[in-house]
């Protein structure tokens, strides 16, 4: 009697779940309009000429043999890392403060954290043009104080770009950290303190390691998003700081060189996927 009863239970639970076939329309939509275009992108990148007559790896040779292209790729990856580091340095303390705040303050803090997520990227980037521009807030303050005579060029500089990207993507770092920090058992910190560890030691040896999964999740999002942030990169970086998305757009739209633009896209996709894989591996290690 016993086994049969449990089997009928299972049947009811199964009945309650929905059929996987409900996912078929979206799966079909993705197969046609997402996977096929990505495969076509690879196909086009494997041609030497825009008429798609000569098959070959010419475009990839062209990219990998060109020091300018490699510099663009390297600069993109390095700036992403700098943005992620800055977001972690400032975002972790904010998540820490959020978790320790009373309820009424949490609502206000959450509003401040979420507003940039939903505000248009152009609007957020526009703010940085006002701040970093020739007549912007930084230059006018420095000139009023008499520290400089002529406006500094802050727009179109690496420092300006990193700061702007960090602000645009900060919420993606802070939100997973809030989740991770609110799951840490406060008793552990008390136990550590009772055993004689100082506050810094407890923070660095107990709190931070316990939130490692959140740190990795936040870093993954921030890194990938700042690599692909075309609008902020072009507006704040300008022509002097060309990064991969701008390079793709330049080759595709301005020069109409689709095979080369496709090859850059494929290389960029591989770079982003490699970054995701590395972060996922780190995440798995952190869980063990």
């Amino acid at each position: 009697m016993q086994p049969q009863e449990s089997r009928s239970n299972i049947r009811i639970v199964h009945n309650v779940g929905y059929d996987l076939r409900l996912a078929l329309p979206l799966a079909g939509f993705f197969a046609v309009f997402f996977i096929t275009p990505l495969i076509l992108l690879i196909f086009v990148s494997l041609h030497a000429d825009p008429e798609l007559k000569h098959f070959g790896f010419d475009q990839f040779h062209r990219f990998l043999g060109d020091s300018y292209s490699l510099k663009v790729l390297g600069q993109t990856l390095v700036i992403g890392a700098e943005v992620t580091a800055l977001c972690l340095l400032l975002g972790y303390p904010l998540a820490w403060l959020f978790v320790r705040s009373p309820g009424w303050l949490r609502g206000a803090l959450m509003l401040v954290i979420l507003l940039p997520v939903l505000t248009s990227v152009v609007v957020r980037t526009f703010a940085w043009i006002v701040i970093l521009g020739r007549l912007g807030i930084v230059n006018s303050t420095l000139m009023t104080l008499g520290l400089i005579d002529a406006p500094l060029r802050l727009l179109y500089s690496e420092g300006g770009l990193v700061l702007a990207l960090a602000q645009v993507h900060m919420p993606l770092m802070v939100l997973p950290l809030i989740t991770a920090l609110s799951r840490v058992d406060p008793n552990l910190a008390d136990a550590s303190a009772a055993l004689g560890a100082g506050a810094w030691r407890t923070f660095l040896r107990i709190t931070v390691p316990l939130t490692l999964a959140g740190i990795i999740a936040g870093c993954l999002l921030t890194y990938c998003m700042s690599l692909t942030a075309f609008i902020t990169q072009t507006l704040i970086g300008g022509g002097q700081m060309l990064l991969m998305p701008g390079y793709i757009y330049q080759q595709a739209a301005a020069f109409q060189d689709w095979p080369f633009a496709a090859a850059i896209s494929v290389i960029f996709l591989v770079a982003v996927l490699a970054a995701v894989t590395v972060f996922n591996l780190l995440g798995r290690l952190a869980h063990e």
Binding site: I12, N15, V16, G17, Y18, D19, L20, R21, L22, A23, L24, L26, A27, F30, F34, P37, L40, L41, L90, P93, L94, W96, L97, L109, L111, V112, I113, L114, L115, P116, L118, T119, S120, V122, V123, T125, F126, A127, V130, I131, G136, I137, S140, Q167, M170, L175, T179, A199, W200, T228, F230, T234, L235, M244, I248, Y249, A252, A253, S265, F268
Partner: protein, 269 residues
């Protein structure tokens, strides 16, 4: 010993507190500065503004190009949200709570547009449509936007389905309700806020999309963020500050409504 421990705690809290305040300033100041500059009486983006006026907001009433672009963006975002909710909710029902291998694979597939570069997808989609012989049109735009916006609906709907107590559905079924009746009367009201939050995020992200629109719009379909981006690249127009001001206020109002109605902040974590 006691005093040393107190010093350690104080210095840790001071360091973290100051960094957190710096982070808050970094998050808030740009928005405040845009709002202030949008009320400038001058013709440049000088900060602080030489004087205050609403002239640039009044100017918006005559800026027909911007109005036209905003209307296009709203239409595309509305269709994208509709398509994303229909396809995304069905898919979420299928993959949530399913232990089949296929469900996990589909979940990763549906989430991948969030991480992959939109510009690469946009270029691929343009090549695809031109090989099919479909000219770029509002239709291709909506299709492209749906690919990059549907992940929001799938994610929030799956998350609410996972929190759903199966006992509720079981009791509805055991009381003789049909599956469709259970879905409408029990499941849908319980996951409604998740769908609403996902639909809202999809709408905002479609309205703001540039990388996909750049490749898939026709010359006649001007989109608001592209118009603003191009204006900023060429002439640093103060008019854009007023548009930004309107968009910030609209976003803030919608966000507060969504927080009340759908618990938005819980869905984003």
């Amino acid at each position: 010993m006691r005093r040393r421990a107190d010093f350690g705690t104080a210095s840790l809290h001071l360091t973290l507190g100051l960094l957190a305040l710096a982070c808050l300033a970094l998050l808030i100041l740009p928005t405040v500065i845009v709002i202030m500059v949008s009320f400038t009486s001058g013709f440049s983006l000088r900060f602080p503004p030489p004087g205050y006026s609403v002239r640039w907001y009044v100017g918006l009433l005559d800026a027909w190009q911007l109005q036209f672009a905003a209307l296009n963006s709203l239409k595309v975002a509305a269709w994208t949200t509709f398509l994303s909710v229909v396809l995304g909710v069905a898919a979420a029902l299928g993959i949530a709570r399913s232990r089949r291998l296929g469900a996990g694979v589909l979940d990763s597939l549906f989430m991948s547009p969030l991480i992959l570069p939109g510009l690469s997808f946009g270029l691929g989609a343009l090549i695809f449509f031109s090989l099919l012989g479909w000219p770029v049109s509002p239709l291709t735009l909506v299709i492209g936007h749906t690919i990059v916006c549907v992940p929001f609906v799938v994610r929030t709907t799956v998350a609410t389905l996972m929190q759903l107590d199966p006992a509720l559905l079981e009791s509805s079924a055991s009381l003789g309700a049909s599956r469709w009746y259970t879905f409408r009367q029990v499941t849908l009201p319980l996951i409604g806020s998740g769908i609403l939050a996902g639909g809202f995020l999809a709408f905002m992200s479609s309205f703001d999309n540039i990388p996909v629109s750049l490749f898939l719009r026709s010359a006649g379909t001007d989109m608001l963020p592209i118009r603003m981006w191009q204006d900023l690249e060429s002439l640093l127009d103060v008019q854009i500050a007023a548009v930004s001001g309107v968009m910030i206020v609209a976003t803030l109002v919608l966000m507060i409504i969504m927080e009340r109605v759908a618990g938005l902040s819980r869905r984003l974590r």
